[in-house]
Symmetry: C2
């Protein structure tokens, strides 16, 4: 039997919705912390810390499942005409955060392979790329927390900077690989690590687009300039 909504239920629905947004933002901050820890272990060449980051990723995956259940449970007991957008954003944003956590863990995992060879000067460039990606994720989370569509558009637009930096770094790595075949295997790891960071930026953009959707519905954002052209690069 359905229960007709009364003021008490509606109020606790809103409370629960606020609690969930806060929990999603906390989940996102955990993923950013994982990313920053992964960037650190690349520098410190610390296998043990890398293994800890890899192990921590499961907690984010578990959180994503728990949150999607809670969002759906809340959706099903809410008023029937409740806006779908809040619910869909509450399901999609944690899925993006979960992927960000995966990419951070993969950066940590590949750092272990790099620790088996002499230090590479390019880890500095990787770190700069990673900091930019972490900033993007953090700004996207705050746009979500503050329900701020303008901030979301700024995050989406700033992704072009990350893409441009990724493209430059990608070319630098290719040049370095051509100079000495011994650089090829470690630089391949750096290529994938850089790609992970670029993908983290894409997920920050997804979060920002969901914040926009939450506020403005299907009204489109201005067309986005895409700067990652490494998929069509034929010479470094």
């Amino acid at each position: 039997m359905n229960t007709l909504p009364n003021e008490h239920i509606v109020k606790s629905y809103d409370d629960e919705q606020h609690r969930l947004v806060a929990e999603i933002v906390r989940m996102g901050e955990t993923a950013v912390a994982q990313l920053e820890a992964a960037l650190d272990v690349v520098e410190r060449r610390d296998d043990n810390a890398a293994h800890r980051i890899i192990a921590n990723d499961e907690a984010i995956d578990t959180l994503e499942h728990a949150i999607s259940h809670d969002v759906m449970r809340l959706a099903l007991r809410g008023p029937m005409a409740r806006d779908l957008r809040e619910i869909l954003a509450g399901l999609r944003i944690p899925a993006d955060i979960e992927r960000i956590g995966d990419y951070a863990a993969n950066v940590a995992k590949r750092s272990i392979a790099l620790n088996a060879v002499p230090p590479l000067p390019q880890t500095v460039g990787l770190r700069a790329l990673g900091r930019l990606a972490a900033d993007q994720v953090r700004d996207a989370l705050y746009a979500y927390r503050d329900n701020d569509g303008e901030a979301a558009v700024r995050v989406r637009d700033a992704d072009a900077r990350l893409d441009a930096q990724y493209t430059a770094f990608f070319r630098e790595l290719l040049t370095y690989m051509m100079e000495d075949p011994r650089n090829i295997t470690p630089c391949t790891h750096l290529l994938f690590m850089a790609k992970n960071l670029e993908r983290i930026g894409d997920h920050a953009t997804n979060i920002a687009e969901n914040v926009w959707f939450l506020i403005h519905g299907e009204q489109p954002l201005p067309p986005r300039e895409k700067r990652d052209d490494t998929s069509t690069t034929v010479t470094p």
Copy 2:
């Protein structure tokens, strides 16, 4: 105002649920078709066909958004005690399919870069890897369509074969890159294309795990053996 469920509404709920599952399977088949077309253009070195595949990807993205809306709309008008699992699977599986479509489009995009250099013998290995990935996706979709938990476990287990083949191909590419620096840039594209195919396999596994979850709830699958060890490879 809520309307109490009556037999007519419950029946049309089930009809709509079946329609949505069929639509999700169709969406998945479109992604598989994109993947197979992408593998073809790598062989045929056809830039125009590659551009068509890239353009088609938007249709899959649009479909994912439309389906997630329909699933949520259905969820909100269904009986309150309705199992969450059906709804969550109906949201998560299209998200995985959408990612598979993205990876297929990226394979097509990178094939354009490869067309600018002489043909590489390694495209044969890429194609074999891609066929395996397409089979995995197709089998996962049929497990979903048929509500078949055993088939889902088989898909999940078969991913180890794809991972092993990816690892072997990855090493082959590294060796080829070391033989001649001119191979480095095109092989980098092949590395990322192969990684895309390996990731498609992971998404097929996600679909299979959601089919299991749909049938058995939180009851865990047997632990999975993970064979992709390229993240920790230091020598080819």
